[in-house]
């Protein structure tokens, strides 16, 4: 029976797909505790983790990534939520178009355009590339993602609720704050998570607009990956995956509550 076939084939396929998605990372984790630096198992060892924590520049890059992601997330979520709400109230072709453009513009183009822009204005301002330029760049490309999530959530929102609030004497801002915003809360959290992920993972744009003191974790990872296989990189990968995994589990817990 076709029904039974699809009932078994689909989950089987899904299992294979999940394996495809997760196995490479699992393998990295396994080899991060391999004593040998080659692909032959040589015994369990935490040696590479120790090497990783001893690398001062790597830790600094990780700290930079966290700071940038936190700042960019807060700003992008705030700006994006307000913009998403405003767009839902009444469409604005220009803003929607430019947000979509920022989504579809390839990262390399965003990166070089921001680099050209910064170099051009910095010539006279005697500023240089640094954390602030990276944060600005990250906010710029994250906002579109935030707006996406907010608008998607607002599609299921009944505008009559706000009308009712206004009828009852609330100001426009009060209606937004007391009625719509609480409804948006889960979407705001989701959008913030999305903005955080996008920011902490960005390599292309960051590598172009980062200065001397704003080296991020992806930049460090890329430099190591370019030099070939590096067991310290296996350790770094495992920790990053584990940390982000814990974060998403936590966020799911919070959302379910």
């Amino acid at each position: 029976m076709t029904g039974a076939w699809s009932r078994r084939a689909l989950p089987l396929y899904a299992a294979c797909a999940y394996l495809f998605l997760h196995l490479p990372l699992a393998i990295l984790a396994i080899f991060s505790v391999n004593a040998s630096r080659f692909t032959i198992w040589d015994g369990f060892s935490l040696h590479w983790y120790r090497a990783m924590f001893a690398d001062r520049d790597l830790l600094e890059a990780a700290a930079n990534s966290l700071i940038i992601a936190a700042a960019a997330t807060v700003l992008a979520t705030a700006i994006g939520t307000l913009a998403g709400y405003a767009l839902w109230k009444k469409a604005s072709a220009w803003l929607a178009g430019s947000l979509y453009l920022s989504l579809v513009t390839p990262e390399i183009v965003t990166g070089v355009s921001l680099l050209a822009f910064f170099q051009w204005i910095f010539r006279d301002l005697h500023l240089r590339l640094g954390m602030h330029t990276v944060i600005l760049a990250h906010v710029s490309f994250s906002v579109a993602y935030v707006v996406l999530v907010i608008v998607a959530r607002l599609r299921n929102f009944d505008p009559a609720l706000e009308e009712a609030a206004l009828d009852l004497g609330a100001t426009e801002f009060g209606a937004f704050y007391r009625v719509t915003l609480p409804y948006l809360a889960p979407a705001i959290a989701a959008a913030a998570m999305l903005a955080f992920t996008v920011s902490i993972d960005d390599y292309v744009i960051t590598s172009l607009v980062a200065g001397v003191d704003s080296r991020t974790l992806p930049m460090a990872i890329y430099a190591m990956a370019r030099r070939g296989v590096n067991p310290v990189l296996n350790a770094v990968s495992t920790i990053v995956v584990a940390a982000l995994g814990a974060l998403i589990l936590l966020s799911e817990r919070l959302r379910a509550r």
Binding site: H22, P24, S98, L101, V112, V139
Partner: protein
């Protein structure tokens, strides 16, 4: 009337930050790149007058046309693969009932972790002395290591692995919103599950499919890390060309011209895929 004005004012205030941001970080930078594309290259880099069309005429050379075609071709294959692999997975998640969120989280989890790390994982697996070759050699299936890395196939694999979650999420969003009673209706009318899938589910999911295609195709066309790490900087795609001109080759005007072409194709996609745009925004 007052209420209308009040709402409009609120809306203007709310739009302002985003508008200023987009102006400063999208409109003006792109305008600068457009301007650079018509300038000339300085002796060792940078830009200077005179204004010229030379960068675009250089790009018209079939050599660079080849790069554009290659990028588009690779992206098409990767997009098709993502759709083919992602649709059944999205379908499974949408129909999985109470554990939907768990399965979705399992897709999002690799998407959450670093894109770079996931690419590196494949470098680790595909090298001549990587796990795949070591296993195959020890099993006696092959006698010399296969050159799995540093070719176009590796680049496509990297793209698919990287962007599969990008395809699954919009597909899931569309499929989840579909009214299950439609499938009941199809069954009542005598359709087999396969037929219902082909005639009801997939056509209704078209906006999501288009959205997924856009979300995968456009980043693939502009990709640069994947071809750099997995292609051995031998496979030059548009993204590599642009990155190169803005860094080691220091020919900013030429890189700017290539960027403009890339943006033009992105905008073309935007304009032709109006339905997918409405789906997203």
């Amino acid at each position: 009337m007052n209420r209308r004005r009040g709402i409009d004012r609120l809306r203007a205030w709310f739009l302002a930050p985003a508008a200023v941001l987009m102006l400063a970080t999208l409109a003006i930078p792109l305008a600068i790149v457009a301007a650079y594309s018509f300038l000339s290259r300085g002796a060792y880099g940078g830009v200077e007058a005179p204004w010229t069309q030379e960068n675009y005429t250089r790009l018209a050379d079939p050599l660079y046309g080849g790069i554009f075609l290659r990028s588009a071709w690779i992206s098409l294959i990767a997009t098709a693969a993502c759709l083919a692999l992602g649709f059944p997975l999205a379908l499974f998640i949408a129909r999985s009932g109470p554990r939907k969120n768990l399965y979705l989280a399992l897709v999002i989890l690799p998407f959450w972790t670093s894109f770079l790390i996931r690419l590196y994982a494949w470098m680790f697996l595909l090298r001549d002395t990587g796990l795949v070759n070591t296993v195959l050699l020890s099993l006696g299936v092959i006698h010399a290591p296969l050159a799995l890395l540093y070719n176009q196939g590796a680049v496509i694999l990297g793209l698919v692995y990287g962007y599969l979650p990008f395809a699954v999420l919009p597909l899931y969003a569309t499929l989840e919103r579909q009214d299950p009673s439609l499938l009941d209706a199809a069954a009542d009318l005598g359709a087999t599950p396969a037929r219902a899938l082909a005639r009801v589910t997939i056509p209704l999911a078209m906006p999501g499919i288009l959205a997924a295609s856009v979300l995968v195709f456009v980043p693939c066309v502009g990709t640069y890390i994947v071809s750099d790490l997995l292609g051995g900087s031998k496979t030059v795609l548009i993204g590599n060309l642009v990155q190169n001109q803005f860094t080691s080759s220091r020919d900013w005007p030429f890189g700017a011209a290539a960027s403009m072409i890339l943006i033009a194709s992105a905008v073309a996609v935007l304009l032709t895929q109006r339905r997918s745009r409405e789906e997203l925004l």
